[in-house]
Assembly symmetry: C2
Homo-oligomer: 588 residues x 2
């Protein structure tokens, strides 16, 4: 499939001339309406693509499509929605001064320390530009890649981003496409990569007009969130192309380095050449062409090899994948929680297994799933497993949105941080965890459709009916719910937050600089359980590191013959000099 | 998963003692009712399996299950339903005298000449036993494997078999489990293997009580024929086990050699360890254990590698797969038909491509499917592609059920036979084609539910609305429709049928005995189009065969320097000594 930048949408050609192209297989005629006045018919071509070059349309021109003379609709490939999801689209000037990012080529994925942030709650302003002043601090912490929660246009100004309905449009309230460019450029100038979270498994419930244009959706499959996308039925090729063009657009037009593909297990596709394989191939080809490292990371709750296996072997050929078993093992050990999917976890043996290989469930029965689950992960390189101890989902999917800092002791936070950062997997931090942020990360929306608002509220209440002893579920639509979720970086200068912050920084420094800890391998690694401690031994050549993750309450004496690299019980890290729930790092 | 023969169902232990085991996760209590009188509770064990050893139950005892005291239902793993799908199940004596089959170990799949037959219409009696007297003739023809359309208990006595609802029970009107054993034994005694068609993608609409026992079905997916089976959701492990035990039961209890897995593309399963992979592995393990060749062949309309790729690479590890592109290319060339899925076919280049590699669609757009379709098949060994020029589907899915002999000339029939039998793929004949049977093979059912009968009739009429110029669609429920579909082997003794029969026999003889034709390889093969002729060159070492498939109407002169092996225009094969629509086989 031949591709060019800006295949879909309004491509500004200069001299107030603009090429419009849109797939509208369900329409017989289609007009582009400029600034609510002039209507210009586009010509129907093969497979239902309408196209035309229009004079008098330039950056700032607002436009919409009328299908068979009906009401105007935003462009499915709109780059900007100045008035939100229901309003017209806007022609944007694709030129941007990227000189600030220098000769940026990207990091190797395996070198990354990922940092997930939500633009709306990361700063008081809630914009891309407001993130920029924080980048030096993140670099100083050791973070070298931010992972931005979805920015595709969603209804209103408060949303996690998974209700996006215009996948090419950059959220207006965040600062639109130019705002994103400024942030990416500022990141790259500081040696920080950018991972963008993109949603290819459903579209949001409000402002979703795609179904009027073409058979984007299918009722042959179900998703938990809405109509499934048509990736394998009749007319699925243009649907695939739309999302693949979307992926390429983030890389080519916005210089993003990697995509985090949301919930790929909810992308139903029984075709012989899976959509995700095609997507991965297209991304890697574009990366080669641009001479940049370009990656695709799957958020998957299936313990499968399918997403990472090479395309030649029928896999999707993606680069990394979520490995939530690590989170669940660690979270259950630290909190003692055992409800919902946590019922599948909670033992030290499971923690050791995930530290060893990534997956805990490698074929045995999962009580929560009520079926056997997973396959062995031996063939997956360590640094392709993305792990964390909290992220937007694990935090925000709780009724009260508590972060780990609100659930466990200070000593446990350090233990958790060390487990994530000293494992050979790819670590992801969630904004604020490095100083033990205690603001919740709640579920919030700002829909304008009253019925939908009611449905979301009721759904949320029902979901947490079993937790009503904790009070009422916060109202997702309330502005206060959003405001409460904002983090406060000034906290990191207080005690004991500053000590935790310093501990994170030291862990990252050790991970990056110590020849054993920087060597990410499942083979040069041994993990066992001794009493209530998990003993991880890692080596590289003749150098060895021993890490004692003590989940018990008793002090553990370090074995002799080793030199201490780090001890979380020390006062410099806010400890009492001894005690359980600790981590000791030794070397020889 | 540990397995034993007869894991599910009524296992006769001798001395009128019987072990009953049934998965009934939806029941709290379950009783087995013997001969409509005595009720014995079974004990609920892990995962909802009920089990118990009952005294006073032996071969011939009729039994049914009462779930939570409700109406009696047949055993989902019933081996025999003497009174049909709604009646009680019967305990059968598993002992059978297999001495007649000798030291049978099976054929290599690649050596097989497959012959598909429908037990009900193959003979006037419509039973397994009535097939046996025909086996010597089939052997004489060169057939070494019969493929039996599904025999799992279906409603009434007239059905193709795809409406089966009790997958372990052998159709009562065909002769039940012992009848099948007698047929298999008689086949093996003559060196003929047995392939059984099994349906693991849905259950029939009448007598389907499985949903009362457990979550066998899911609404997360759709099939064209009914509720999708639950192969990847909660509680799917016992569902998988049920069907895998079913597959093993045909091999172990009935000595079947291979399974033809019906419409695997309709088995929706997004799990990390696909059901079909597990099934293939279990079948091959059983084959190794028994010291027999055991195969699984997928009927698939997806041009994918997924079903054949080894399990270690995430594939299903099956042995062969339907390659309908061959049929469609040949059928369209011979008939000129271009409606429905035939619109994707019809050129000599496509015929040459399928003769070369199996798949015509290897990634290009299919007009009928309205999407790109297929992947290259280079890595699939020739003899893993099952091909034919007619089968129950291609014939019976026509409104009037015409076989090829009713659609094209006698010369074309020979051309078609040669294309199938002289290609290096695995050939399948459909009962009667070897003598040019002209009885139709119509769609027939014998439901007892009036609403269902009406729905089937209406569905059939609607399906063929576009063909109403051919008259009315035959009534599927009418006995006459079934009777008209019966074949008449005495035809093969008449002219010109006998000549066609002899031609088939000669083709099979050549295929099996000629060192070039017996060498099945895609690499030692070249196919090109010259005018209206497809020229296939095959070689093995320094021996060569040239086959000229002439689809035109003009006589073709054979190139010099070659010796003639076969010429379909010769009078001995009913030809006129020259002319188009012919095949010439040459060697040097």
């Amino acid at each position: 499939m031949k591709r060019d930048n800006g295949f879909l949408g309004a491509l500004y050609l200069g001299d107030r001339r603009c090429r419009f192209r849109v797939w509208a297989a369900l329409a017989e005629s289609l007009e582009v309406e400029l600034d609510g006045r002039l209507r210009v018919p586009l010509k129907r071509g093969e497979e239902g693509y309408f196209e035309g070059i229009v004079e008098g349309a330039g950056p700032g021109t607002r436009y919409a499509y009328r299908l068979d003379g009906r009401d105007p609709r935003p462009d499915p490939a709109s780059r900007f929605q100045p008035e939100g999801v229901h309003g017209p689209s806007m022609v944007v000037d694709p030129s941007f001064d990227w000189s600030g990012e220098g000769e940026w080529r990207g990091h190797y994925l395996s070198d990354c320390i990922l940092y997930e942030l939500h633009v709306g709650t990361f700063t008081p302003e809630g914009t891309f530009d407001a993130v920029i002043p924080h980048l030096d601090r993140l670099r100083d912490l050791g973070v070298n890649a931010i992972e931005i929660m979805p920015v595709a246009q969603f209804p209103g100004s408060r949303n996690w981003g998974y209700d996006g309905v215009l996948p090419f449009a950059v959220q207006n309230s965040y600062g639109g496409p130019e705002g994103l460019n400024r942030l990416v450029s500022a990141c790259h100038a500081r040696g920080i990569g950018v991972v963008l979270d993109v949603v290819y498994n459903h579209l949001g419930p409000e402002g979703n007009y795609l179904g009027e244009f073409g058979p984007y959706f299918t009722d042959r499959y179900k998703t938990p969130w809405g109509l499934a996308l048509n990736f394998d039925g009749p007319d699925s090729d243009p649907v695939r192309r739309y999302f693949i063009e979307n992926a390429l657009h983030w890389i080519a037009e916005h210089h993003v380095d990697a995509l985090r593909l949301d919930a790929v297990h909810a992308i139903a596709d029984a075709s012989e050449r899976p959509f995700l394989q095609e997507l991965g191939t297209a991304l890697h080809e574009l990366g080669s062409r641009l001479g940049r490292h370009v990656y695709a990371i799957a958020e998957s709750d299936l313990n499968t090899l399918q997403f990472l296996r090479p395309a030649e072997q029928g896999g999707c050929g993606l680069d990394g994948q979520w490995t939530d078993d690590f989170h669940h093992s660690l979270h259950t050990l630290l909190t003692g929680e055992r409800t919902g999917y946590y019922q599948d976890f909670g033992t030290l043996d499971q923690m050791a297994k995930t530290m060893r290989g990534g997956f805990v469930y490698t074929g045995q029965r999962s009580p929560h799933r009520r079926r056997r689950h997973g396959v062995p992960a031996d063939s997956i390189e360590a640094a392709r497993h993305v792990i964390c101890i909290q992220n937007h989902d694990q935090t925000g999917n709780r009724m009260l949105g508590e972060r780990l800092a609100s659930l466990v002791s200070f000593e446990s936070l350090k233990l958790a941080a060390a487990a994530v950062l000293l494992s050979p997997f790819l670590p992801l931090l969630f904004m604020g965890e490095e100083w033990g942020e205690t603001a919740p990360f709640l579920y919030f929306v700002s829909h304008s459709d009253e019925d939908l608002v009611r449905a979301v509220r009721e759904g949320r209440s029902e979901e947490f009916a079993a937790f009503s002893w904790q009070g009422e579920a916060p109202d997702p639509q309330a502005e206060e719910t959003f405001e409460r979720s904002r983090i406060d970086p000034s906290l990191r200068e207080r005690e004991p937050n500053a000590l935790l912050y310093a501990f994170y920084k030291e862990l990252i420094r050790l991970r990056k600089t110590h020849p054993v800890l920087a060597h990410l391998s499942k083979r040069d690694l041994e993990v066992k359980v001794e009493g209530e401690t998990i003993v991880m031994r890692r080596w590289n050549g003749d150098r060895e590191v021993l890490i004692l993750f003590n989940f018990g309450e008793e002090e553990l004496s370090a074995p002799s013959g080793w030199e201490k690299l780090l001890d979380s019980t020390e006062e410099r890290w806010g400890g009492r000099g001894s005690g359980g729930r600790s981590v000791k790092v030794l070397e020889r």
